[in-house]
Structures are given as structure tokens and as C-alpha cells.
Amino acid sequence: MPGLAGRMSTVVKAKISRMLDRAEDPGETLDYGYQKQVELLQNVKKGIADVVTSKKRLQMQSQKLEQQVVKLDTQARQALSQGREDLARTALERKTLAQTELQSLDQQVKELEQQQEQLTANEQRLRQKIEQFRTKKEVIKAQYSAAEAQVRISEAANGVGEEMADLGLAMQRAEDKTENMRARASAVEELEKAGAFDDITALGSGQDDLDRQLSELTSGVQVDDELAKMKAELGPGGGESPALEQGEEKA
């Protein structure tokens, strides 16, 4: 037997042929089959809408994180120019974490986009096939006395059945993937809620624990490198730069 997709379509095919065998009125069965196909098409639309919703959610998160990256970078520079290396380090740690999340979000948005394109193409193909089935079924109903009719019904029904089963499989895979990404989006939201991407002007008491966790999460080497680079860019004696944006000097 053909593989996974094959097994699925075999199940559908078996159902359709059983239906056809049992049917007293093949015309009625054909109408029923057609109705089922149209129903499936509706589900496909819902499936595509789900993918789009998940994609939009990830895109919004990604935009937010992008803004935070820019903000944290600016703050790190400002902190450093005021000789506050500790604050600069905190800002860079947060920036590193935000960048890592950002990369993974962007990758997932891309994957979802591919899923969406594929499902849309599949949906259009199935729509055509169903339309074809509708035409064929009227012809078959009109000519049912012909000896070949039964064979033609099976052929047409199995052809559409295979298409439906295959789309069902594609939907299942898309669903699994979106499910994973939803979990991912929730994880990013949790980090956000915990203040992991907050800018450093929002730092208050009780952040020590979070900062410890952050420095564990982010790569120390990357932060050190970036800090050194920033120092070099700012040059010696940057003490005359403007005060930390929206922030107060921490005592």
C-alpha cells in the first residue's frame, strides 16, 4: 500500500465505496458525497484562518521585540557613557535575549507563511476537483443506466477522496506546527510578563533575581564582546553625554 498519506486516503476511499455499494439511490449518495466535500472545504478555510491568526500574533510579538532591542541598545550606550557599566551590562543581557527570541520568531513566521501558501494552493486545487465532481455527478445521475456508470462513480469519488485525504493530512501537519508555535508564543509572553525585555529605566527593587536568571540565559561572552565594542566606540571620557533616557541615576 502507498504510505501514510496513502493509508489515510485508503480509509476515505473505503468509506466512499462502502457508501456507494450500500446505496439504493446512487444519486443521493453522490449528493451526500458532494455535500461532505463542500463541508471539508469550509474546514480548510478555517484551518488557513488559524494559521494566519498565529502568524499575526508572532509578527506582533516580533515587532515589539524589535523596538525593545533598539531601546535597550540605546540605553546600554547611554549607561556606558555615564560610566554605569553595571546598567549597560544589564541592558545588553536583555538585548541579547530579545535578539535570540526575535530570530526564532522570525523563523517561525517564515514557516507559517509557507504553510499558508501551501494550504491555500491545496484548497484551490480541491475546490476545482470538487467543482469537477459536481459536474460529473450530474452527468452520472442522468446516465446511470449505462453499464459504465458505477465504475465512473467510483473513479471520480476515489479521485476526490484521495485529494480530500491528502488535504486532511496537510491540515493535520499545519495544525501540529501551529500548535508548537502557539506554545512558543506563550513562552515569549511569559518572559515578557516577567519583565525580561523591560528597558532598564523600569528596573526597580526585586529585579535582582530576574537579572541573575537573565545573565544565566544570555551568553556572557556575547555581552562582554558587545560591551567592549561599545566602549571602544564611545571612546574615553564620555561623561558629558546626556542623562539616561527617562531614567534616574540609581543610587
Binding site: M1, P2, G3, L4, A5, G6, S9, K13, Q118, N122, R125, Q128, K129, Q132, F133, K136, E155, A156, N158, G159, V160, E162, D166, L169, A170, R173
Partner: protein, 92 residues
């Protein structure tokens, strides 16, 4: 013969390709059994290549059954273990 790539639709291939596909299919089963993912990927892309080079897309107006159904292009090695077992995709 009609070949479907799951998620991509059906293609009409010369019957002569059945043997080539079957041979690759059998080798892919062996690769999967040995846990040889690199070998499997190579054979799998050769199978897809045959469909790409020799196949003509079946029109949307045609309602036909496939002789062979290939799994989705991006099949994981884990999924492949279910697909490429025993006789493989194409029974001998």
C-alpha cells in the same frame, strides 16, 4: 503512472519510471532501517527529482487515483520510519 506528492498534487509519469522509483524506494527502506539519515535524504531527493523531471502535473479537472503516493517533501526522518518500512511506498 500517476504519482502524488503529498501536499503538492498529482503528476503523470512514464510507466518506465515505476522501476526506478521502486528501486530507490527499496534502498530508502534499507537506509531508514539502518538509521542512515544522510543516505535516506539523498535517495528521497532522487525520488522527488524523478517526479520533477519526468512528471507532468495532472490538471485540476481530472479526477484520478494515484498509483503511488509519496509523503510530504519535508518529511522528517522520524516520520520516514513509518513510511519507508516493509515493502516501502511501492509494493514489490
Amino acid at each position: 503512472m500517476i504519482v502524488r506528492i503529498s501536499g503538492e498534487g498529482q503528476f503523470k509519469l512514464p510507466d518506465a519510471d515505476a522501476e526506478r522509483l521502486n528501486e530507490l524506494d527499496n534502498r530508502a527502506v534499507a537506509a531508514v532501517e539502518q538509521g542512515d539519515e544522510t543516505g535516506f535524504r539523498e535517495l528521497w531527493s532522487q525520488m522527488l527529482e524523478i517526479v520533477a523531471s519526468d512528471g507532468n502535473a495532472v490538471s485540476d479537472e481530472e479526477l484520478v487515483e494515484s498509483d503511488v503516493i509519496l509523503p510530504p517533501r519535508d518529511i522528517s526522518f522520524h516520520e520516514a520510519k513509518d513510511e519507508f518500512s516493509g515493502d516501502g511506498l511501492i509494493p514489490d
